[in-house]
């Protein structure tokens, strides 16, 4: 698949990762979960772009950076229907599938104010309740949180 025949709202990428079909209201959460503010790569964002499927969508293009599967999986917690493509020489060379991560460390906030993770300087840790479940369990206080209620640290 090439992208050269479309009118591009965001500059085409030579090498890197494109995260497309992000619901617009989830853009900044995706930026946070991937810790993009601490990246030195060139990044372009598109926000409130027209989308037949989503109404308004967002897109992130990260130059010269190829996301790993573990990083990509974190995106699933926020935008499970996002599309992630690896670009080399302006061409999509790989489409990465989004799977809910089995375990997330230091990313998701525990919603239980009495949880140790909200009372001690430490990393949070959540595990998926069971494979394919859209529910996560805090490794510490054992309270569960549904994916749609997840708050990113």
């Amino acid at each position: 698949m090439t992208i050269d025949n479309k009118e591009l709202k965001v500059a085409a990428l030579k090498e890197g990762t494109v995260i497309d079909h992000i619901p617009s209201d989830k853009l900044f959460k995706v930026i946070a979960i991937l810790n993009l503010k601490n990246t030195h790569s060139q990044i372009t964002f598109g926000y409130n772009l027209d989308s037949a499927k989503l109404g308004k969508k967002a897109i992130i293009k990260i130059s010269e950076k190829f996301l790993e599967q573990t990083e990509v999986n974190k995106v699933a917690l926020i935008a499970p229907h996002a599309k992630i493509n690896i670009i080399r020489d302006y061409k999509v060379v790989e489409k990465m599938a989004l799977n809910y991560p089995q375990e997330v460390v230091g990313v998701v906030k525990c919603l239980n104010p009495k949880c140790i993770t909200n009372n001690e300087p430490m990393k949070t840790k959540f595990r998926q309740l069971h494979p394919s479940a859209e529910t996560y369990v805090c490794h510490y206080c054992e309270k569960t949180v549904d994916v749609e209620d997840i708050v990113v640290l």
């Binding site: 239980n112 009495k114 949880c115 140790i116 993770t117 009372n119 001690e120 300087p121 430490m122 805090c138 490794h139 510490y140 206080c141 054992e142 309270k143 569960t144």
Partner: protein, 303 residues
Amino acid sequence: MKGKSLVSITDYSKDDILRVLSAAKEFEKNPNQQILQGKVVATLFFEPSTRTRLSFETAANRLGARVIGFSDAATSSTSKGETLKDTIKMVSNYADVIVMRHHIEGAARYASEVTDVPIINAGDGANQHPTQTMLDLFTIQQTQGRLNDINITMVGDLKYGRTVHSLIMAMSHFSPTFNFVAPIELAMPEKYKLFCKENKIPFQDLKELSQDVIGNTDILYMTRVQKERFSDLMEYERVKNVYTLCASMLENTRPNMKVLHPLPRVGEIANDVDDTPQAYYFQQAKNGMYARQAVICDALGLI
């Protein structure tokens, strides 16, 4: 064998449970043994709980261990702002095993990750209290002569009551049948009912503690209905009386049927029940010491 922490009851496999219960049975026969001589047991009670602390400390003392610790966080460095990690690290320099109670949920799990000294969770907020579950299992085995195929009726606060949740998890190894008797406000959470379904454990949700249910029960597990759980105090007054057990309700029970309660009780078991042959909650509390002796020894790799 290497010792290990007990933070949640699910840390124990079926084999672990059976091994620890069998050791507890030995301690019941002979609670005074010098097997922990030369060992130091720390009891860190960041939240006061006299009943649990005395049970653990008696358990350790009767096995010849020395006990160090505190009974209230106000007397520890926690009150100066020390992190839990630092307190645990410091105590780990002195003790062979740490028993801890904390009002913060997950505190014991975290403690077990920052030290190599085994941690025994003596309660972390509303989360877990696994030695209570071990003493409940011990009591069920003691009174019924077995753990398999027991009909357990749980009554009262099934929503917030951590003891009933842990008991479901632990009993799931032994093909139980459950009756959950609670007002709607305090009904058993879906999560545990789903767990029962997944493990093919039969259960029924009931609003009332009927004679019929009591008559088919082996273990009647009563819990405290706490006033502060209700937004509507009139509802509390109504519910409180519906779930009060009195001696007249125990006339047609199975001969092996026993009434258990994690204690303290406030009014859900009338005083006249104390004199019935079914009342077993005080012996149950005593069993806590044997169960904790076994858990401490297991944590130290001694059984």
